[in-house]
């Protein structure tokens, strides 16, 4: 557990929860990032303005962090270009088919005690843990 960063993780989590609460309280929307992003890019979707503003806000947040810290956020990639493309397609298609991701199901849906979100969160967590196990300890051990 030498990489454990409890303070920054907790502060970040509280900010994410606060942001999701503000989104619901002020604008009545669920801060599910996959849904927001697909509403920006899919042709003909309604209510595009608020989604674009939310995404721009996210980018602004990352830029503010970089300016205050004086250095970009840590970025240690786990895949090369081919892995990034395969994973990106899976995440994009899967989050639409499953109506949400870590934020929509994991943070907002669980807070609403949604059975769908509870199930989805368990399934994508378990699948991701299994996937990492296979990559690191089955394929990785054999390579």
């Amino acid at each position: 557990m030498e990489n454990f960063t409890p303070i920054s993780a907790l502060i970040g989590g509280l900010l994410i929860g606060g942001a999701a609460t503000l989104t619901l309280w002020a604008n009545g929307r669920i801060a599910g990032i996959s849904g927001i992003l697909s509403g920006v890019i899919v042709p003909g979707s309604s209510d595009r303005i608020w989604r674009i503003l939310f995404v721009l806000g996210m980018l602004a947040g990352a830029i503010v962090y970089t300016v205050i810290r004086g250095a970009p956020a840590d970025l240690e990639l786990q895949v090369g270009p081919a892995g990034a493309i395969i994973a990106g397609l899976l995440v994009g298609f899967g989050t639409r088919l499953g109506s949400g991701c870590t934020s929509g199901h994991g943070i907002c849906g669980l807070a609403r005690f949604s059975r769908r979100s509870f199930t989805a969160t368990l399934v994508f967590m378990a699948t991701a843990i299994f996937t990492v196990f296979v990559i690191r300890h089955v394929i990785g051990a054999a390579a």
């Binding site: 960063t5 303005i49 503010v64 840590d74 270009p81 995440v91």
Partner: protein, 141 residues
């Protein structure tokens, strides 16, 4: 008043900003942290439990209180998901998402904030993420 009002627009931008800041501060925008959490059999990094726990610590009580209001501040009504059924689409979607998340260590939010790195691999992941969403739209919507 609605989200097209200036106050509504400013608030939604601020919400995005706080969300993005939270993702970066928490470490979720770094795939090594995410995979370190998912790797239970390796040198496990439990940080992400606190990210999700911190988020839920706020949203569980706050959503309950907020939804007691008749309507949000800048809209006529709350826009909440209506689907109830745990169906095959939900399960298959969660499996495909979990597979991609485990491979790259990126889910959609972190992929967006990591764009500011202008790293080529991040840009490729993001392009594929968009393509996957469009593919779903074309064949299933």
């Amino acid at each position: 008043m609605n989200v097209n009002s200036n106050a509504g627009r400013l608030t939604i931008f601020l919400s995005g900003l706080l969300f993005g800041l939270g993702l970066v501060i928490s470490g979720m925008s770094n795939p090594a942290k995410v995979v370190g959490f998912l790797d239970l059999a390796g040198s496990w990094d439990p940080s992400l439990i606190l990210v999700m726990g911190g988020g839920l610590l706020v949203t569980v009580p706050a959503f309950h209180l907020v939804l007691k209001n008749p309507r949000p501040l800048f809209e006529e009504k709350f826009f909440l998901p209506t689907a109830q059924a745990v169906d095959r689409k939900l399960l298959l979607g969660a499996i495909l998402f979990g597979l991609g998340w485990g491979i790259a260590g990126f889910c959609p939010g972190p992929a967006i904030v990591a764009l500011v790195s202008l790293n080529t691999t991040v840009l490729m992941f993001f392009a594929a993420l968009v393509a996957g969403m469009l593919l779903h739209h074309v064949i299933l919507e």
